[in-house]
Subunit: 309 residues, 4 copies
C-alpha cells in the first residue's frame, strides 16, 4: 500500500431505536461516502465510538463495512482498546477481513510511562495482524497521552514490522511537519483536525482522516483542489466555513451534533449511546438553523458543482 491521499471519513456508529447497532444502514452510508468523493473510511474510531462498543459489535461493524465497500475505497479499522488483549483480537479479526490498514490509540486507562512502553504496546497489538499496515492513532486531548512523535517514529520503525504511519490528531503542526519529513518522508502521517486542513496542506499533508468529512467532503475536496491550483482566497473562505461549522458543533456537543447533521442529511444514525447524550430535539433544530444561517449546507453543495473532477 502506498501513502494514502485524500480524505478518509471517520464514520459514525449507527444504532437502532433499541440501542443495538444498526448494520443494515452501513451500505447506504458507504454509498454516500463513495459518491461524496472519499478516499476511504475509518471505522470504530473516536467518532465511530469504538470504545463505546463491545468487541462483538466492533467485529460485526468491520465486517459490514468491508462487505459494503467491496474494495472500492480504503477501509481502516480502529482496534484500540483499554485492554491490549482485546485490541489484539480486533486486529486479528480485521486482518482476516482483508482490511487495508488497522490503527490503534494508546491504552488509555493505564497510561504507558514512556515512548518505549507505548511502542511496545502498539507492537504487541500489531503483532496480531502482521500482514496489515499499522497506524498509531495519536489523539492526546482524548487519551491524555502526549508523547514525542519523532521519538515514537524512530522506535516504531524498529519494533513494529507492519508500521506504516500515524493518524495525527493535534494542532501542533510543527511536530506534524517534522513527522511528515522524518527520514525523507518514509511514514504516512494522516492529519486529523478537519478545521485545520488548509494549514496542514501547506506543510505537506496528503491524507486526512476526520469526522466532518462524513457529511462535508465536497467542501474539503474543494479546499484541496483550490490549494493545489493556488486559489488561496477560495481555499481560506471554505476553510472558514468549516471552522464556523465546527464552532456550532462544539457549542452543542461535537459527536451528538454531528450525528444530528447526518440525520438531517437523510441518514438516521439512531439514538446516542451513553456516556454521550442525545441532543434535545429543539437543540437539533437550533443547530440546523444555525448552520443554514451560516450557509453551510449550500456552500457544500456549491463545492460539488465547482469541483473539477
Amino acid at each position: 500500500m502506498k501513502k494514502i491521499e485524500g480524505l478518509i471519513a471517520a464514520s459514525f456508529a449507527a444504532y437502532k431505536d433499541n440501542g443495538e447497532i444498526n448494520l443494515d444502514i452501513i451500505p447506504e452510508i458507504v454509498e454516500n461516502l463513495i459518491a461524496d468523493g472519499l478516499a476511504g473510511v475509518f471505522i470504530c474510531g473516536t467518532n465511530g465510538e469504538g470504545p463505546n462498543l463491545t468487541i462483538e459489535e466492533r467485529m460485526a461493524i468491520a465486517e459490514a463495512y468491508v462487505k459494503a465497500v467491496n474494495k472500492r475505497i480504503i477501509v481502516m479499522v480502529h482496534v484500540g482498546h483499554s485492554s491490549i488483549y482485546e485490541a489484539k483480537k480486533l486486529a486479528a479479526h480485521a486482518q482476516g477481513l482483508g482490511v487495508d490498514a488497522i490503527s490503534s490509540v494508546s491504552a488509555f486507562y493505564f497510561k504507558p510511562s514512556s515512548v518505549k512502553a507505548l511502542v511496545i504496546s502498539m507492537a504487541e497489538i500489531a503483532s496480531a495482524a502482521p500482514e496489515t499496515p499499522f497506524y498509531y492513532y495519536n489523539i492526546p486531548h482524548l487519551t491524555g497521552i502526549s508523547m514525542d512523535m519523532l521519538e515514537f517514529l524512530n522506535l516504531a520503525e524498529e519494533l513494529i514490522p507492519s508500521f506504516r504511519g500515524v493518524k495525527y490528531t493535534a494542532s501542533t503542526l510543527h511536530e506534524y511537519e517534522a513527522c511528515l519529513n522524518h527520514k525523507d518522508g518514509k511514514f504516512d502521517i494522516l492529519f486529523g483536525f478537519d478545521e485545520m486542513l488548509l494549514p496542514a496542506l501547506a506543510v505537506g499533508a496528503k491524507g486526512a482522516v476526520g469526522s466532518t468529512y462524513t457529511f462535508a467532503a465536497p467542501l474539503y475536496n474543494r479546499i484541496i483542489e483550490c490549494f493545489q491550483n493556488n486559489q488561496l482566497k477560495e481555499a481560506r473562505d471554505l476553510q472558514m466555513m468549516s471552522i464556523k461549522m465546527v464552532q456550532s458543533l462544539v457549542k452543542f456537543a461535537p459527536i451528538p451534533a454531528q450525528r444530528a447533521i447526518v440525520g438531517f442529511k437523510g441518514i438516521n444514525l439512531g439514538p446516542c449511546r451513553l456516556p454521550l447524550l442525545e441532543l434535545k430535539a429543539s437543540d437539533k433544530e437550533l443547530l440546523i438553523e444555525e448552520l443554514e444561517k451560516k450557509e453551510f449546507f449550500s456552500t457544500v453543495k456549491d463545492c460539488i458543482k465547482n469541483h473539477s473532477f
Copy 2:
C-alpha cells in the same frame, strides 16, 4: 448490607509466565488476605488491572474469587469499562455470582459531559445488577473525570435504586468528609488513598479500599486501632511508615513495584501486562533493599504482634 467497616484489599491481577491469567493462585491470595485481617477484597479494579483484561478474563477471575472466599469476607467486583455495554455484562455476571457489591469507574474514553451524564451512565450499568449494591468508583487522577461528588450523591440517590456509596480515591478530604455526612451519613463512602488513611479516619472514615492493604494490612489495622484508642503518636508513626513505603512505590512505578513486593512476600503474581512494564530484576532488589532499610517489613510484622485482636 450495612456499611463496610475495615480494610478492603484491592487485589492484584495474577498471570502465568505466558501472560495468561493465573486462576490457580487465587485461593492462596484469598487465604493470605483473610489471615491478614482484611474485611474484604476488591477485584478487577485499578490495581487488579480490570481495564487491561478481557471480559472473559474478568468473569473468570470474579468466579475464582467468589469460590475461594466462600462468603468469609466481602467481595466487591469492579465492572467499569470504556463501553457501558461491556460493563453491563460484567455487572450481570457479578450479580449471578452473588457478590456483595459491584463498583464502576466512569466511562473513561468519552468523558461524561455533566454529573447527570455520569449518573445516568452509572444507572445504566447498575440496572444490569439490580439486586447488588452499587458503588461509584471516583478516581479523577486516572480517569480525568472530576465531578462534584455531592451533586453526584443527590442524583445517584434518585436515579440508581441499588446505589450504596462511593469508593473515593482522591486527597480532597473536605469533599470526602462532606460525602460522609451527606444526608446524615446515608451513603457508604470508602476511602481510597492508603497513605492518607489516618487523616481520613479523623474525619470519620470507617471503610477503606486500597492496594497496599494487600501486603500490609496489619500496619493499617494497627493505625485504626491506635486511632480508636487515642494513641495518636503511634498512629502517626505507622502512617509515616506507609507514606515512606508509598514513596518507594512511586519512585519505581506503583503497580509493578507492588507486584514485586507481593512476589517477595511469597506469592508469585507473574509478569506485568502491557502497557505496564515489569521492573527490572535489579530494580526489584533495590526496592526490597530500600524497604528493608526503612524497616517496612519488620514494622508490619510488629503490628501483627501488637494487634489486640
Copy 3:
C-alpha cells in the same frame, strides 16, 4: 523563633472607594484578629492580593500592619512576585520593619524548571532579608508549580540559611505529614487548607494559615481544642460547618465572597480590584442568607462561648 502554633489569618486587602489601598482600617482589622484569638497575621499573600498590588502599596500595608500589631501577634509578610528583583526589595523592606517572618511563592510567570531552580530562586529572595525567618509558600493550584516538597526541604536547608519552613497549601496530606516529620520535625510546616484543618491536625499540624480564619477563627480554635480534648464528634461537626461555608464561597467566587462576609461582619474592605470582580449586591445578600440558613454565623458565636480559654 520557635515553631508557630495556632492560627494565622491571611488577611484581605482593604481599598477605599476610589480603589486605592485603605491603610486607615488596618488597626481595626488587627484588633479584631487579636480579639478573635489569632496567633498571627499573614499579609499580602493570596487573599491579601499581594500580586495585585504595587510594590509601594505592599510596603505601605506591611508598615501599617507592623505598627498596628505592635508585636502582640506574629506578622508574616508575603514577598512573592513574578520578578525576583522586586521580591528582594519587599524582603529587605520587611526585614527593616522587624517582621517575624517572610514568605514567598515561586516566581509564577516563568516557572522554575526544577526543584533546584526553585530553591536557588527562593535563596536569592531570602538573601535580601538574612535575619528574617523564611517560609516557602507552596500553592500549586495557583502557581502551577508542583514540586516534590521533601526534595525541596533537603535543598532549602542547604542553600537558604534563614529557611524555617513551608506554608503548605495543598490537599496532599501524605506529603504534608512527610514534611512535618522530615529530619525529626526540624521544619515548621504550616497548613493552608482551612476546610481540611481537622485531618491536618490528625497528622500533626500545629500551625495553620488561612483566609477564613480572618472571620471565623473561633470555629477553628474550637476544632483544635476539641481535637486536643479528644472530642472528635464536635470537631468533625465544626469542620463540616467550615466545609459548608467554603462550599458557599466557591459557589460565588472565593475572594470576593469572603470580602463580602467581612463586610457583613462590619469591616468595609471596599471594592474588589481587577482581575477580581465584585459580587453583585444581590449575590452578596444570597451568600449571607445561605450562610445564615446553614447556621454558620451562630455556630461561630457559639464557639466563642464554648471556648475554654
Copy 4:
C-alpha cells in the same frame, strides 16, 4: 497605524555581568534587527523577560529601545504584569515615549474568571494609554488562561477604545484563522509560534511576533517570500529548518538556549536571571554544534543571499 506586516522580533533582555540590565547594548541589538529586515521589535515580553524585571528596569529598557530605533521600525512594548496597577504605570510610560503599540498578557496570578473579567482588566490597562494601539497578548501555555478569542474580540471592540488586535501565541490555527476573518478582518492578529509560520501564512497571517526572529529573521523572511511566490517546496524546507532549530532549543531550555545563540552570533546578553538558569558552558557548545550539524547557521546565511529585496 495600519495592520502590521512582516516580522516583529521579541527581543531578549540584556544583563551586565553583575545581573543588572545592560542598556548600552541595545543600540547594537537594534541595528542588527534593522539590518536583518525586521519590521519591528516587541520588548519586555516573554522572551524579553518583562515579568522578571522591575518596573524601573522595564521603563528604562523601553526608553533605550525607542531612542535606538528612532522611528525606523515598529516598537511594541509589553506592559503585562500580575498587578494591573503596575501595568497601567507601564502603559502610561510607554505612551509618553510615543511607542507604536502596547500589549499585555492577562493578569496571571489571579486568573480572570470570564472573558468579561479579562476584557475589563485589559480595558483598565489600556485606559492608561488611550492614544496608543493596544494588543492583547494571548499565550495560554504560560498564563494558564485560555479564553474564547472570538468572544474576546467582540467584547474588546466594545470596551477598549484603543483595541487593535491580538498577539496570538497558540497552535490552534482554526481559531487564529477565525480571528483573522472576524468582522471582515477588522483586527490585527499577529501570529506568535515561529515554528508554525508557514501554516499561519496559509490561513492569512500578515504579521508575526517571535523570539527566533531575533537571530534568524532572514530564514523567515525567505519563507514569506517563497510562500508569496508559490515556491512551496522551499518554504517547507526552510520551515523544517526552523522546526529543527526549535527542537534543539526545547531540548536545552528555550530562553537560555536562545540567549546562548545570540551570544554565539556576537551579542553578549549576559547571564540569565532567575528563575531561568544559565546553560552550562558545555551545553552551550553542544547546542551550537548541534545547530551547525543541522546546517542552521549556513541556511540562515543562504537566505540572506537568496532574498530578492
